[in-house]
Amino acid sequence: MEANAVLDLMWIVICGILVFFMQAGFTLVEVGFTRSKNAGNIIMKNVMDLCIGSIGFWAIGYTVMYGETIGSFIGKPTLFYDNVEDMHNLFFQTVFAATAATIVSGAIAGRTKFTTYIIFSFIMTVVIYPISGHWVWQGEGWLTELGFVDFAGSTVVHSVGGWAALVAAILVGPRLGKYTNGKSNAIPGHNLVLGALGVLILWLGWFGFNAGSELAISGDSANAVAGIVITTNLAAAAGALAAMCVSWIRYGKPDVSMTLNGALAGLVAITAGCAAVSPAGAFVIGLIGGSVVVLSIDFIDKKLKVDDPVGAVSVHGVCGALGTLLVGVFATDGGLLYGGGVSLLGVQAIGVVAIGAWAAATAFVVLFILKKTIGLRVSKVEEVDGLDEHEHKSSVYN
């Protein structure tokens, strides 16, 4: 293989490894933002969706997503992918799939049956995510043909996870004691230091997530990669800053967990446009993402009364959709602010809605069936005592 091709492959492998590490970040955020009595269950869910994602995507998911297109809708599946010249792409896509699945975990933490989660996670990885992914990233999907831009997956990965998470959180219902007499109660996370470490690990992994999505680094891609790293970092910084300021104004004090969510919101928001906007554009997108996430968490919690312990719906669903739309505004090539008119914005909106509807609908069907069969939720006693006690007969802190 020639040096430039090696560079590209190497870059994809390295970025894949960084994205892999995001699993640790998701685990820590979810553990830290919830109560200690469920920490073991959260570890199991996160480790298992990584395992199931790794196996499922290799076994079939990858070709559902990237196989020869069937009507611009789905790839032709092949079992046990084994093309020795394409293993780097399989790896990179595998860790992306695992990310989509893991988002749901946070929104339904503390009350969901382990077996149910495992089954849902498997279907998410091999059906829900790869099909909509096919529409955008396979090259011949119907959204690609419309001109939809989602560079690294604000919609393809994060929104899909986020909307599925919303449906799941609604169907599972709130944790006991979360709402009493129509009032939302605070259920503080048990260790925000772990949460903060998780956020920094996610931020780290996001450099791989976004810059790796260039899928190359040789030739002209080199400067593009460097540009993506900068837009990614600026949006994250702006997101955290904005969330801190908004929380400071609204609640009188700079809130730790909101600030951390703000960084993630900025990262999710920039993911679609990281290669299409300028640093200044990324900065503004981050500010918007970080501000919106605070309002969205508030709204979902207090108005919709949907219990999402880690803010997954707001961070991944809302900011993912938002970031995708903002590409239509800030893209230096075709964005509204750069004289491109509203056509790109329109296409972006179509993509956001189509994929959102797909994710919500399929998640609903799957979860509804699971609800009617094995059930979604642990018993009241199990929930009160903690999932570790009953689902795993052990405790993580001794």
Partner: protein, 112 residues
């Protein structure tokens, strides 16, 4: 012998300890508890502002011989207060017998 159980602000612990030290009461046990009472504390978590009466406090258990009772109570009342709601409570009860494990001594000799 009497047992003094006293619930104080965590931030006052060092002063109370020092005050006990002054009167040579260098023997007690303490642990952290959550206290429910008149004081309210404002918190915000992820946008939910709430005021809670569940406040971190420190619980001291001190067994003293009867002659020490009053000065000990006095020392604590003087050092633990801030004058604001939530300073805590002091409870006195009777201890029937005390043993020092090391020496198997009983009674007042075993107290400190």
């Amino acid at each position: 012998m009497k047992k003094i159980e006293v619930i104080i602000r965590k931030s006052k612990f060092d002063e109370v300890k020092e005050a006990l030290h002054q009167i040579e009461v260098n023997f007690f046990s303490y642990w952290d508890v959550t206290g429910v009472g008149n004081e309210k504390q404002g918190h915000v978590y992820r946008g939910v502002s709430y005021s809670t009466t569940d406040i971190q406090r420190r619980f001291l258990s001190i067994v003293v011989s009867d002659p020490f009772l009053d000065i000990t109570i006095d020392a604590i009342l003087k050092s633990a207060g801030t004058g604001m709601v939530g300073d805590g409570k002091l409870f006195v009860s009777t201890i029937d017998e005390v043993y020092r494990i090391r020496t198997k001594e009983k009674g007042t000799d075993a107290v400190n």
